[in-house]
Symmetry: C2
């Protein structure tokens, strides 16, 4: 009974999810409670501690077996000091989250941002298990990223490493402005938002496409139309895949990781999307740098955040 356990906490705007992992990253138990953002900072911090104590008390494990607690959270973090500088969706400002939870629990606490934590989860116990260097892309509303080298998150000087959605990858002539203010970012073409925009533009232009009949176009509609043979939709998917593959070729030159892991809603399009990405990656990457390198789907789904948070305890 001396097995060590690792508790992961994934803090969202409405719910706090907690989970217990063993040293292999197997998720043994989960629990979820309300964040209660409206009740303020103290309530949120008390809830984190309460849910961690609760899940352990309901598990077959003893409190003494808890080796540490990891927290994944969205917002601008001062990671070395464990301070949340600003979390818009939680209303937190300059809160020493790490130290406050550590005091409440009497266990070592680690904190990192949600995208990095999800990447660590996949690298530790998901699609990157056993691989020391992985790069993760999350294709959702935007394009998120996380970089794992030697099994650990690459943080960057200002904690901004892995912002892969903002690689300026679309050539000037075709580039549109990104929400970040720069031109031609990857997420302007390869996120769900980018795919939907390209589809709506095509419909407005009067292109011959079955998407004209769709009321409120979603990324899935574009993939379904492309798979059914719609040429306009196929071109849009191809463009999203092209810039993803090209960005991976660039990342491969810089870091030569063994595995690229793609998660998020858009990645559910499966091999139809992945095969196109792989083709582009092969075309643009020097042979010695693509040998043995794989582009694979994420495996943990929404649990990547909890698992990765637990992984912070071992991989920090």
């Amino acid at each position: 009974m001396s097995e060590k356990i690792y508790v992961g906490v994934d803090i969202g705007g409405t719910a706090i999810k907690v989970g217990i992992c063993n040293e292999n990253g197997d998720l043994l138990q989960t629990y979820e409670g309300p964040t209660e953002t409206d009740k303020g900072t103290d309530a949120i911090l008390n809830n984190i501690a309460a849910y961690v104590r609760h899940i352990v008390s309901e598990s077959p494990f003893q409190w003494e077996q808890v080796e540490g607690v990891g927290i994944g959270i969205a917002g601008f973090l001062d990671i070395p000091n464990g301070i949340m500088k600003f979390a818009p969706n939680l209303g937190l400002r300059n809160v020493p989250v790490r130290d406050r939870v550590q005091e409440a629990l009497g266990k070592p606490v680690f904190i990192n941002n949600d995208a990095n934590v999800a990447a660590l989860g996949e690298a530790w116990a998901g699609a990157g298990k056993g691989v020391s260097d992985c790069v993760c892309y999350t294709l959702g509303t935007g394009v998120g990223g996380g970089i794992i080298i030697d099994g650990k998150i690459v943080q960057g000087f200002a904690g901004m490493a892995g912002e892969l959605g903002h690689m300026a990858i679309v050539p000037d002539l075709e580039a549109i402005q990104c929400g970040c203010g720069k031109m031609g970012c990857l997420e302007t073409v390869s996120s769900a938002t980018g795919i939907i925009k390209m589809a709506k533009d095509a419909v407005e232009r009067g292109d011959r496409t079955s998407l004209t009949a769709v009321e409120n176009i979603m990324a899935k509609d574009v993939f379904d139309a492309a798979k059914a043979g719609d040429e306009v939709a196929a071109r849009i998917v191809n463009r999203a895949a092209f810039y993803l593959g090209k960005s991976m070729a660039t990342v491969a030159i810089v870091l030569n990781p063994q595995r690229f892991i793609i998660g998020g809603g858009v990645s559910k399009a499966g091999d139809f999307l992945f095969d196109q990405i792989r083709d582009v990656f092969r075309k643009f990457t020097p042979d010695l740098i693509q040998e043995g390198v794989e582009i694979v789907p994420a495996q943990l789904g929404n649990n990547a955040g909890i698992v990765g948070a637990a992984g912070l305890v071992l991989r920090s």
Copy 2:
């Protein structure tokens, strides 16, 4: 007298340079002897060991103070096993260099490729001193690179990380083929070779430029002409700087390093070149990722290899 010392070895085709560093990376003493490539593998390995013993015997230090020996070498290395798979300029094939030198000296030996080692030298004791995340560019015949994260070399899955000269950065319409077989690599425009080619092309096209009068154009001639107001030469320098700055913007998105260090012959053009690179970097990098980030010249010159090799002992 219990100070520890670190011996660095820089193996070139004609000479083996060795140096003694203290724990701060200060280069205290150097020695250089012939490689004797023509005498074969055993002679080269014997020379390495002999020169290391020699420099220590001539120094004020005792053999017992040698903490370890690091080796930088050009070629295809199996770094985890310390085996030189193929070094074209030394004629080595499948030689367990690390273990053989370790046996000969009875000290821990570390080995890595020359570009990575030079980057480590600059990061440890040169232009990146005190900074944990640096990216180095070497602008010479090609464009070399080396990436240091948390003070250590990023190796990559196949030991190919940091091949920055082969980032596909020139857009398709303007791209030419690189020696690596791919199109539009950074080194086709930003290496000395690339700059010379652009200059020769301009002369052949009949562009109005003072370079027409130069017999055998070197990169320095192009910079001199550009500084003197030659518009054609200025455009060439601007293009070399543009793609360097753009590639740094991309690397910044991926890794968010604190410092970019540029060395090699072309970097001697100084602020005339650096200011243009900085402008492009500022333009293409999101604000949060460029804050506090510097682009600076390398400081150690040809000693980067020896110093970085010594650094392998502490930073492996």
